[in-house]
Each structure stands twice: as C-alpha cells, then as structure tokens.
C-alpha cells in the first residue's frame, strides 16, 4: 500500500465531503461530526450518483440522486437497499489526511 497526502482535515467541512480524482476514478473523502475520516469510491452502487455531494449523518451518507444511504465504514447500502461501493484506506497523521492505494493498481496504469 502506498500513501498519498491529500491535505488536512480542515479542508473538509464537518459532516461534509470533498473529492479527489485518481487514475482509478473519483474518490469521496468524508469527515463526520466527530472528525472521523472515511474514503469511498464517489459512485453510488445504485445509479452511480456522486456520493460526495450527499448529506453526511453519523458514519453514513445519503446519495443526492435517489436517497440511498451508504455506510462510510463498510461501503454497503443500508436499510432495504443493497449494493456496495469500494472503500478506500485512509490514514490521519495528526491533522493530515493520506489515502492508501494499492501499488499494483498504479503499475497497471
């Protein structure tokens, strides 16, 4: 796993998200009310909605397109819906955020 710095926790509003573009696609990076950071693919398992634009509550996000609720921890849809989005490793060093990417993915570029 390689780690890439993407900025600090203060760059993201609490109960909010920003996104990062990577060669494998867009990643949403989320900050919860209690300053946990999560990263998931920015692609709703339902119809590909940009999850980073949704409303963040607890450790979940509600997709802006049709209101599926996705767990930021597991990437799985909650409630009656089912589907999963890839979760991405993130690390907090102090206030700096780094996301982890598999080296072979980079090599495959």
């Amino acid at each position: 796993m390689d780690w890439f710095d993407i900025g600090t926790i203060d760059d993201i509003p609490a109960r909010g998200a920003r996104c990062v573009t990577t060669p494998e696609g867009r990643i949403g990076v989320f900050r919860t009310a209690d300053d946990q950071i999560f990263a998931i693919e920015d692609h709703c398992p339902h119809k590909g909605g940009p999850l980073s634009q949704g409303i963040v509550h607890g450790a979940s996000v509600t997709c802006p397109l049709h209101n599926w609720v996705i767990s930021l921890e597991t990437g799985m849809a909650e409630g009656a819906d089912s589907g999963t989005v890839r979760t991405i490793a993130v690390r907090l060093d102090g206030r700096r955020i780094a996301i982890g990417r598999e080296s072979h993915l980079l090599a495959a570029e």
Binding site: D5, G7, R18, T21, T22, A33, K47, I55, G58, P64
Partner: protein
C-alpha cells in the same frame, strides 16, 4: 488453495451468501453460478413495485454484471442445471455446459403451485414469481381489460394491487372465508378486504375455482357454484412448492424441501442447500429474513467457520401495497391458555391484537397502524414478562414511560407560558389549569373549553401529551407520526417546541428533544434547518451541511453529476442584452444544452461543478441573480402580457408579477412555491394551478391558492378578492408567511391547506387585518437576511471548498476525464 464452488440458482439467498463469503474469505473460492433465469441477481420481493410502476427493474438489481466481473465470478445466465453427478462431482446445464465442483450449493428456490383444473395451461394464465411473469402481466395490462387473480394471500394481493394500479379491472378469488388467513385473524382479514375493495378491486371469498375457460386463450374463470367471471388474464398465486426435483434426482435426502442440517449441509457433505428449496429443522421458509440467516450460516461454513448454526425465528409479514399497513407475526390462534388484548378504532380503520401466554407476547396482528410491530416482536423474541405494562401494552412503545423514549418528559418540562396552540394563542398553563379545574378527560372537552387544537389541529399531539401529563395513565393520546426514525416527535410538535423552548441550533434541538441518533439523518436535518431558518431568521446560522446538495451549491444536480443553472427572468420578461449574455456563457463554457423551461425562463444544463462560480460570475455581470430553481423557496412568478399589450388585459399582470417576484425572491419555504399572475380570466399564465395565483379582473385582483400541477393536479381555491396591487401583495405575503410558520417540511401549500382548512387560512390572512399585518411584518423582517443573491456570494469566495476537488500529492496533475 482455492476451492471450486458451484452454485445452482442465482436468487436472493445465494446472492446474500456470496456477499458474506467474499467478505469472510475473499479469494478462497473459484466460483461459478448457473441460473435458469437469464439475468443477474435482483430483489425478487420488489417485483410488486415494478408491477405497480413505483420502481423500474434497474432499480431492483442487487448485483449488476460489473459485480460478477469484479469478483471474478462466472455467471451462466439462462442455464438450467439438469443433472448433478455426485460421483464425478459435476453439474450439467440444459445447454450442455458441465462444471466440476469441490463444494456445490443448491439454491433453486420454489416453483409456484398450479391448481389442477381444466384450462390451467391456456395462454393468458400466469404465475407470479419472476420478472418474466411481471413483463407478461404488464403486456396484458396494456389492454386495460379484466384480470382475475386466484389466491388472496400476500402474492395474490400484491399482484392484484399492481394490476389495478395499471388500469385493469381486477377480481381476486380466495378459497378461504377471509384474506391472508395464514397471517391474519378474521377481524384483520375483513379490514384488509375492505381496504382492498376500496381501491376498486373485487374480492370473492370462499371461491372454489372449477375451471379456466377459453378457446385458445383465457376468456374467464368458472367457479364451483357455476359463476363465470370473464377475464383475459388469470394470475395464479395460490402457493409455492420448494423446487427439489434436481436434488431428488441426484439422490439427496428430500422431504418437503431438500433436507439440510443446521449448517445448511445436505445428506452429501460436499453439497449445501439454502433458500426456499431447503428444509431445516423440519421447516421450509418463504420470506427472505430466514433465508438471509441461512446465507450467513452457509457462508460461514464455506469459509471454514463451522460455529454458526441456523436457529428458527418467526418472521413478520407485511404487505407491500402502498397505503395498506398490516403487520403480523407469531402465533395468533385462540387457545385456553392464551389471553389477548385488542384495540379497535373503527373510524381510523385501526385494529391491534396482541396474544399473550404466561404474561409473554407470542403473537401480534396489527392493521392500519403498524409502527409498534417491531417492538411487539422484540418483546416476543426476548420473552419479556409484560405484567408491569399490561394496561398500556396495546398502545405501544411510546406509552411505556422509560427514560430516553419518553416525549412526555419534554412536554412536562415546558414552562407554563409556552404557547401550545398557535392559531388560538393558548399556552400550556391555561390548558393544564383548565383540565384540572373543570375535570376534563377528553380531547373534545379540552378543545371546547380552551380552544386549543380547535383550529388547524396541528398541535393536537402536544395537547394530548399535556392531558397525559396532567391526567396520568388514565389518558392515552393517539400516536403521532414521527418526523423520521431519529425522533418520537412529529413535525408539528417539533416546530412548536423549537419556539416554546427557544431552540436555536440543530444540536440544541437534538439534545433537548432527545434525538435517538447522534446527528440525525437526511430526512430530519434539512427539516430542522428549515424550521430554524424560518423561526429565527436573524439569529440562526444556516447549516449548509444539512441542506440537500442543490441548495448547498445553488444549482440542480443532474443524473450524471453535472449541474443545471437557471437565472431569474423576472416575471418571464427578458431582453436582447440578457439573451446575449446567456449565449456568451453557453459558448464560453461549452454548455451542452439550453432549454426554455415550463417556468418562463432559461435552463442551462450539463455544467461541471467546478465551473459553476465562473458561470455565475459572468451571469452576475449581466445582472442576473439565481433563479432558485433548486430551492424549497420561491421559484417562478409566471405572468402574461396583460394591459401592456393584450386587448383583453384588465390590469398590469406583468408588472404585478415582477413586483411580487422582486419582493419575495430568496425566501425559504417548507416546499417550493410557484406563482402566476394572469391579466384576465382567460388565464394565459395558468394561475389556477399554482401555489399562489392571481387573476386580474376589472374590479381588482382575485387571489387564488393551493393549486398543483405536478404529482397531483388540483385547481386552486379562491382566497378572496382585493382592490389594489398593494393589498394583493400584502395578502399574498401574509399567506406565504403563515405557510412558512405552520407547514411541515416538504408539504406544498395545497397539502397544508387541506390539513388546516381554507376557511381558517382565509380568516387569518384576509379577515383578521391585524394578524395579516403581523405575518407581513414577519416576512419583511426575514427577507432582510434571506434576500442575498447566493451566486454573487459564491463568486466572491464563500464556500470555495464546495467547488474544488482536493489534490492528490505525489502523483502529478491528474486530469479528470
């Protein structure tokens, strides 16, 4: 070493099993699936919403093609396995594909039971099991002819409701005296029958089908008593049988279903079975909850964890017919050793019955109001001794006191001067004092003596809670629909408590009203944010993270994640300069689509989020402000050309529309507000289907409201007539302010008016001049904080983070494709 895992059948049970397995032991298996249906895994239980048109097939897919690809799973669609060779350990499909296995999972589901009567194979006779059945029904429904559904159980009724929804004339034939007799007692069965009949579906019980008649295709159904019911479609939904033929042929032990132990292993240790085809502990199942438990057990076993065993539990039944609430679980047969508690509210169509044995709940039947179903079931599961709460048990969880859950505590703690009834200005002390002084015991008496809850009724929940606080357990208020699962309070109570307790932030509301979640959900947060903006316009700091993305970025999100931008064109008027500016913006940002909207202005679609501030900057320079096409707020004021040009115009409708729009833009409202002004009763601006509309007449202005032309179509109600433009504006503003103060979030004016009553609204904003002035002033005050163009704010740098992605250091610049 990877194990070769082959799965026969790709239904809901194995789909769930794979999810668990891939998580527990990723990469441990080389997986191949054969499925007789030629499609991916989908949510079979959602077929009814597809039939009724509430969902599309795409929306119910569980695992799309990409999922199988990602997990390296081979899925043979449209391949039915016709033989299992247990010695060679292979399976073979009807298209001749063979596959070797180390472990085999059989998940062939069920087959619908076809009643053995003449004519049951005629074209036009269908079952209800998979998407093909739904498609065939939809095709038949196009003819809008007559349909007969045989079977008044869960599937039959869902099919009937769906076909009815699609415009067919439907008759349900049920052989037993009451519907869903396996899940409902006769009382609930009758209520259900009435609710079904109320939708225009005919129900015939004790109907014994003798034959299906027709010449080359279905023409009708003949009953044992000789009645003939004409139909061009017959759906048989009389039951299912575990699909065991394949397993039986392979020599596995088969009883009603394929016999498995509590680890889902069949009589052959290398073969598992799960889902509706499996029989475990002598039982077969037909609802997904136990099948999902089987999936968990099977996945654990395949992953090498033998500690997980299947345990039986009762699954509640619910009917997925919009508007019919029923819930049933457990054992509800009568018996000498049993007692029951029953509550009926005939006028509300509510029936609740809880069956007790040794002071423990063993069965629950709820009709009409099912919110407490899960709680009752939980009591059953935990075998809770209910003697303590026996007297109030039937009223449900919220009446059992207990610390956290109790909304009464909050009401009890209100000061005596807290206003409870806004319409009649009645405070808490007056209500509790009158109850005690006059010995009142019913809501109607309280209404008569205090006027509280006697007008719009939105404070009824609070008044009832006050009665309960004052009278104790002797009084049990009717349940209020909570805002969302995060709270026990309904919208009206929350609104009133926000004011009564002076709550001014979302965390304060959640703390004081004892929210059950840490930071709410996507339903309650936007509602609370609106209530606080509306109630404390000068003090409340708008919480953007509690707004839906459209209101956060002031543009409408599109299905591909781009945005659309709609600038205001006051009253639908524009100019060469404005049009030129729009044309320039479209060219400069290569905006892919430009459209004239139904609201008399122009929509630019397909703009990248990052470009929004620059687009707004250019539009702003040309004098445009946001059209709030995204907002729960004032949208458009459509006008016609009026006296300026039209030979019939009686007043300056264009001018008035522009005045209203300029006065009211920027205000947040519970749901969107659309207006129109027409210059004469010919009504070219379509004012009579708007939230607020004005029809100009010779003698003045006729004010209309509570119209709709979206999901519902409804002509407006006439509020009244006024003489001058100024008066018209005052009345409209007061009306909107009353709506802002009282309505529930997302409730359009027409729905609110239906609840509150047109007469009450007329009384408050037209007849009561003082009150009208108070509403008007409150609106004007709040506009001081609301009338800020959000676009120019963002152009000057507010919320910069919204429009720029983070950067990935160490990878060089990454170009978004």
């Amino acid at each position: 070493m990877t194990e070769k895992l082959v799965i026969v059948g790709n239904g809901m049970a194995p789909g769930r099993m794979l999810e668990h397995l891939l998580e527990a032991a990723p990469g441990h298996h080389d997986i191949t699936i054969f499925n007789a249906e030629s499609r991916v895994n989908y949510d079979r239980i959602m077929l009814s919403p597809v039939l009724s048109g509430e969902k599309s097939f795409e929306e119910i897919v569980i695992h799309g093609d990409g999922w199988y690809e990602r997990h390296g799973i081979a899925l043979w669609k449209g391949h039915r396995i016709i033989a299992i060779d247990r010695d060679a350990r292979t399976v073979t499909s009807d298209h001749g594909v063979s596959e070797r296995f180390d472990r085999l999972v059989i998940a062939t589901g069920s087959v619908p039971f076809i009643i053995p009567v003449p004519g049951n194979d005629l074209p036009g006779v269908l079952t209800y099991r998979d998407l093909d059945d739904v498609n065939a029904m939809l095709l038949a429904a196009q003819a809008r002819a007559k349909a007969v559904v045989i079977g008044g159980g869960l599937l039959g009724l869902e099919a009937a409701a769906g076909l009815n929804e699609r415009g067919m004339d439907v008759t349900v034939l049920h052989v037993m005296p009451t519907l869903m007799e396996r899940q409902l007692d006769p009382a609930a069965g009758h209520l259900l029958q009435a609710a079904i009949a109320a939708r225009g579906i005919k129900v015939i019980t004790k109907a014994n089908t003798k034959a299906i008649i027709g010449n080359g295709k279905v023409e009708g159904v003949e009953l044992a008593d000789g009645t003939i019911i004409p139909a061009s479609l017959v759906v048989m939904a009389v039951g299912i049988r575990p699909n065991v033929a394949l397993a039986k042929e392979a020599g596995l032990t088969v009883n009603r279903g394929i016999v498995v132990d509590d680890r889902m292993v069949t009589s052959d240790p290398s073969i598992l079975a799960l889902g509706e085809c499996a029989e475990v502990g002598g039982r077969v199942y037909g609802l997904v909850a136990p099948l999902y438990e089987m999936a968990r057990v099977a996945a654990a076993g395949l992953a090498g964890d033998g500690s997980r065993a299947f345990v039986h539990s009762d699954t509640p039944t619910k009917l997925k017919v919009t508007g019919i609430d029923l819930y049933s679980v457990g054992d509800f047969a009568d018996g000498d050793d049993r007692e029951e508690i029953v509550l009926r509210d005939a006028s509300a169509g509510v029936y609740k019955r809880v069956i007790l044995q040794d002071n423990r709940v063993i069965g629950t039947v709820l009709f009409g109001e099912t919110a407490d179903g899960a709680w009752f079931n939980d009591l059953t599961r935990r075998k809770t001794d209910i003697s303590e709460m026996r007297d109030t048990l039937i009223f449900g969880q919220s009446f059992q006191g207990g610390a956290k859950q109790d909304p009464l505590a909050a009401v009890a703690a209100l000061p005596d001067d807290a206003e409870i009834c806004g319409c009649n200005g009645v405070c808490k002390g007056k209500i509790t004092g009158t109850i005690t002084a006059k010995g009142l015991t019913s809501l109607d008496e309280v209404r008569a003596h205090t006027k509280a809850s006697a007008s719009c009724g939105s404070c009824t929940g609070l008044v009832e809670q006050l009665m309960k606080v004052t009278l104790g357990d002797a009084y049990n208020p009717a349940a209020v629909q909570p805002m969302c699962p995060c709270t026990h309070f309904g919208h009206d109570d929350v609104r009133r408590l926000i004011r009564a307790k002076g709550l001014k932030t979302i965390p304060a509301v959640m703390q004081v009203l004892e929210w059950k979640t840490s930071c709410g959900c996507a339903k309650c947060r936007p509602a609370l944010n609106y209530y606080l903006v509306a109630d404390w316009p000068d003090e409340y700091a708008d919480d953007y993270q509690s707004r839906f993305v459209n209101e956060r970025v002031h543009a409408n999100i599109q299905k591909d994640g781009t945005y659309s931008v709609v600038p205001r064109m006051w009253g639908g008027m524009t100019s060469a300069k404005e049009l030129r500016a729009i044309a320039d913006v479209v060219d400069k940002f290569a905006i892919p689509a430009v459209k004239v909207t139904g609201g008399q202005r122009i929509d630019m679609l397909g703009i990248r989020k990052e470009d929004l501030p620059a687009v707004w900057a250019d539009l702003g320079e040309a004098g445009f402000v946001s059209g709030h096409a995204y907002a729960k707020g004032l949208r458009t004021v459509k006008t016609c050309v009026g006296t300026d040009w039209c030979r019939f115009g009686t007043q300056d409708s264009t001018g008035l529309g522009i005045r209203i729009e300029k006065f009211m833009w920027g205000s947040w409202t519970p749901a969107k507000v659309k207006m129109a002004v027409s210059g004469c009763p010919r009504n070219c601006a379509e004012a009579t289907c708007k939230d607020v509309g004005i029809i100009c007449v010779d003698s003045g202005y006729e004010i209309h409201f509570a119209g709709a032309a979206g999901l519902d179509i409804k002509g407006t109600e006439v509020l009244g007539q006024v003489r001058s433009e100024d008066e018209a504006i005052e009345v409209i503003v007061a009306l909107v302010q009353m709506y802002r103060e009282q309505a529930r979030y997302l409730e359009r004016i027409y729905k609110w008016a239906k609840r509150v009553g047109v007469a009450e609204i007329r009384r408050q904003v037209l007849d009561d001049v003082e009150r009208r002035a108070r509403y008007f002033d409150a609106f004007v005050f709040s506009q001081r904080f609301a009338q800020v163009d959000p676009w120019s704010e963002r152009v000057s740098g507010k919320d910069k983070h919204e429009f720029r992605p983070l950067e990935l250091a160490g990878l060089g610049a990454v170009v978004e494709s």
